[in-house]
Amino acid sequence: MDPNVTSLLQDAALLLLVGMVVVFAFLSLLIGVVNLISWICGRLPEPVQPVHELKRLSPSVGPSPAVVAAITAAVHKYRQE
């Protein structure tokens, strides 16, 4: 067999070995980490997201205050009457 091919095959064998070991090691570690995350998240109860918080998310850029203001003004007027 071509000595060059032989050498390449050795490289490939090494890559196969190292590669599969690392892939398995990495993903096994990730299993542990995911289990850890789940365990921690299970112990710390998720805080109840206040409903009015949700409205604050999108704006930051945006004309939504105009809408809010329209409603505000309407409510305001309504109360006055």
């Binding site: 998310l57 704006p59 930051s60 945006g62 004309p63 003004a73």
Partner: protein, 376 residues
């Protein structure tokens, strides 16, 4: 064995510098602020993520050939990204409240005092060993007081690119902190009676006025402050597309997909400037401190100007709305509304605060133009 050694040397574990670890922590902190505390998440999330990516040893995100390197080169080095964001913000901004009551522009002007006063602070820091801010650096830092993200990024990329990361982070962080920074200052400078003042309802503004407004702003800027035309021009283009009613397709795209795409890239590119050697310096602490001062001063001068206008108008201006002059749209206007409601649960100031709020955007763009012309 050799392959394993190569692999080990190619892991971050073997290559981390302490600075990189700290900066990753900073990146995580920004993600925490964005996700859990909802601090300007649209920008701070990609900035935080970019900060993590740029500090990975061996990955080379910000070196020639790396993803963040290209994004920065194309979008920030050229100034294109902040200008496109500004076009989108223009397309998202309704100037109706300002056109209905144009005197509100004075509040947007007064709040810029925060910018120029901060110049002193930045320069005085040079007295402390370790600080060496040039006038350009000081100007780029002071613009944080403009409370406007794209303006700060644009000016920093022109005047002090090496401080860009810290300046952008400070600008967006303080914009998110507006509900915490502003109320004490607003309460300290106003009396309960002033805070209860109810303002007259705003008149309806015609479509034609809204179309002519951005063109008038552009014209004035061209005549008197050409150095501000990149920022003001793109902002007015976006606003004209919004109001003219004949290019709905373009306006919608500028307000949504285009600004979203550019926001992702802008955030990542800003994050790429949060490398240990550029961020973990005494300067950064100085910038953070100066940013808070700039916001506070701007808020105060805005309120004081509103108090003056209240006197002159015979009690028709609620001084609280002056605080909205720093911009930080629409957060500052909401804060005004909230503090107003505390004083009088029937006093809705939101719409009245939108005028100074958008005036503040113009004001800081004008201030940026002045700094570019005189210092740049």
């Amino acid at each position: 064995m050799e392959k394993l050694t190569i692999l080990w040397h190619s892991t971050a574990l073997a290559n981390f510098t302490p600075g990189q670890l700290v900066m990753m922590g900073v990146g995580l902190l920004l993600l925490y602020l964005a996700i859990v505390r909802k601090f300007e998440p649209l920008l701070l999330l990609p900035i935080g993520f970019g900060a993590i990516l740029t500090n990975i040893p061996l990955a080379g995100f910000s070196e020639p050939g790396g993803l963040l390197y290209y994004i920065y080169l194309v979008g920030i080095d050229t100034g294109v990204f902040p200008l496109l964001i500004f076009m989108g913000v223009g397309a998202l901004t309704d100037f109706g409240a300002l056109i209905a009551n144009p005197r509100m522009l004075l509040l947007g002007a007064a709040a810029q005092f925060g910018i120029f006063a901060t110049l002193f602070g930045a320069i005085l820091l040079n007295l402390i060993p370790g600080f060496e801010f040039s006038l350009k650096d000081a100007s780029a830092i002071a613009i944080i007081g403009g409370a406007d993200g794209p303006t700060a990024i644009f000016l920093a990329s022109r005047l002090a690119p090496e401080l860009l990361g810290a300046i952008a982070v400070a600008a967006y962080s303080y914009m998110a902190l507006v509900p915490i920074i502003q109320p004490p200052i607003m309460r300290a400078l106003t009396t309960p009676a002033e805070r209860e003042i109810r303002m007259e309802q705003l008149r309806v503004v015609s479509k034609r006025e809204k179309i002519i407004f951005p063109l008038a702003v552009l014209l004035l800027t061209i005549l008197f402050l050409p150095s501000a035309t990149p920022l003001v021009g793109m902002f007015c283009l976006g606003n004209l597309m919004r109001e003219c009613g004949v290019v709905e397709r373009l306006s919608k795209t500028a307000q949504n997909e285009l600004i979203n795409i550019v926001t992702i890239f802008l955030g990542l590119a800003v994050g790429s400037k949060l490398s240990a050697d550029k961020f973990l310096k005494l300067e950064t602490l100085g910038i953070l401190a100066l940013g808070a001062i700039a916001f506070a001063i701007g808020t105060a001068t805005g309120v004081l100007m509103a108090k003056l206008m209240n006197r002159l108008s015979g009690g028709k201006v609620n001084p609280l709305i002056g605080a909205a002059g720093v911009s930080a749209v629409p957060m500052a206007a909401r804060v005004v509304n909230k503090v107003g409601l505390e004083a009088n649960p029937h006093n809705f100031l939101l719409m009245h605060a939108m005028g100074p709020n958008v005036a503040g955007v113009l004001g800081s763009a004008v201030a940026a133009g002045i700094l570019l012309a005189l210092v740049g």
